[in-house]
Amino acid sequence: MDLVWDGVREAFRILGTGDRDVWEITLRSLLVSGSATIFSLIIGISIGASLAFRRFPGRNLAVTLVNTGMGLPPVVVGLVVALLLWRSGPLGPLGLIYTPAAMVIAQTLIAAPLVTGFTVAALGSLPAGLRPQLYALGASRLQMLWLVLQEARLPLLAAVMAGFGAAVSEVGASLMVGGNLAGETRVLTTAVVLSAQKGEFAPAIALSIILLLLIFLVNLVLTTVQQRERQS
């Protein structure tokens, strides 16, 4: 038990004194996973909207694929992205392996199916007559899409939370394509793995607390927005 208490005490000391490395790692986690979430929203909402509104052969298969993708194992994504980005791989000349950009790509691929799935569900729950009505009122296709997304914004916030949560908490892909380089690609999750491996449990606990706080704060903000909107 001493180990745990010492760890927790040391963790709060690190949090209190504002260790520079720790904050840098936290900021990087936020930046990498935040950009991955934004990209996955663009990809996920456009594909999700198509799946929700259009009827075409193979649509059921497409929805099944998206649902499968919601459980996509991060290590598999990591392996595929690494194989593509390694210098010896097809995208090697881009020089992306072991960079934050590579991590953004991997996390985008992990989060995008989640966002797509949530979008399909959110748009599917809108009243069926809404779209014909909007067209009847003379909305262009883009205007229609915008208005519909406005209408479904509360359930879509769940897509943002799910996407960000998946991106910021995954570790396998980030290790594989990022390489856990100090000052470059070390994020909260990979730093926890490294500290624990080195037997440095205090920083591991401190970083875990920060990771939880980060997810908590992002969800708090989004949930507050969601609840306030609902009441008004």
Partner: protein, 291 residues
């Protein structure tokens, strides 16, 4: 028209947006990706012990090159070199390295430093390793009494050494209930052995670096076959256009420089009361083995 292309057709506006985003992402990423940095593939021991945290920043400061340290086992590091995915290697499996050089993948291979492997285990020492004469007898005692042993199982330099001792005994422990393969780095493997009260073979540096959290004790040491020798070498830039030559030469030279060798000699003295590595620049493997 196939159902698939029909589906693509229907989805076109959305797909276009998706593809444009993805293409934009790649473009943006390639703009900030740095292709001129040096990739050093190395063993987990040099990394977990913290030695490279002292050496690499100094090298970067002196030369202006950016180094990406990828800590994997020696087997994986050599494999990265074969594929041209690393520029310079710091590894510790002399036999595999010699083959790597002979096959034309490695050049400019230089002896950097050494320390030794030790056999550690629970203080109660049920296999009585404290009283055996050499490493071979130690492993035989573990096998005979079927005591839990944690192997790296990851083709690292440490793993290769362990397997060579089993091979000398003419015995293959794979699949035995008492023989565990962690598949992880030395730090993680030591912690598994610690929790399971098991035996394992480790390099001295990682063991000392983790001593605070380990109850394991050194039970066997000093056998000449347990010498742990580290070489640095360049991946042959002529084999692959991806491989950086200039910065790799600079790194090899740096590791052999008086300044780096002095840091190696001092590393660990302050924290552990003894050095973790012995600098060997300019010596041959035979010199080191003779001492």
């Amino acid at each position: 028209m196939s159902a698939f292309s029909f589906a693509c057709d229907m989805l076109r506006p959305a797909y276009r947006l998706g593809f444009v985003t993805l293409a934009g992402l790649l473009l943006l990423a390639s703009a900030c990706g740095s292709s001129d940095s040096l990739i050093l593939a190395t063993t987990t021991s040099t990394f977990d012990s913290g030695l490279l945290d002292e050496l690499v920043p100094l090298f970067e400061e002196q030369t202006g090159f950016n180094v990406k340290v990828i800590a994997v086992g020696t087997g994986q590091a050599l494999e990265m070199g074969r594929r041209g995915d690393a520029d310079v290697l710091l590894v510790h499996a002399p036999a595999a390295e010699e083959q790597f050089v002979e096959e034309g993948y490695g050049v400019n291979r230089q002896l950097v430093m050494h320390n030794d492997f030790i056999i550690v285990g629970p203080a109660s020492d049920p296999a009585e390793l404290r009283s055996v004469p050499d490493a071979m007898s130690a492993l035989r005692a573990i096998q005979t009494l079927e005591q839990t042993f944690v192997s790296r199982g990851d083709d690292s330099g440490t793993n290769k050494l362990e397997l060579s001792i089993w091979a000398e005994l003419g015995y293959d422990p794979t699949g035995e209930g008492w023989y565990l393969e962690s598949g992880q780095g030395m730090g993680a493997t030591l912690q598994i052995a610690n929790q399971r009260e098991a035996y394992t073979i480790t390099d001295r540096a990682t063991y000392l670096a983790l001593l605070d959290v380990l109850d394991l004790e050194i039970l066997h040491e000093g056998d000449p076959s347990l010498l742990n020798i580290y070489h640095v070498m360049q991946v042959n830039p002529e084999r692959s256009s991806n491989v950086q030559g200039e910065s790799a030469v600079a790194f090899v030279d740096f590791m052999l420089s008086d300044e780096a060798q002095a840091i190696i000699a001092e590393f660990g003295v302050e924290k552990f009361g003894q050095p973790l590595f012995v600098p060997d620049a300019g010596l041959t493997e035979a010199d080191v083995r003779e001492r």
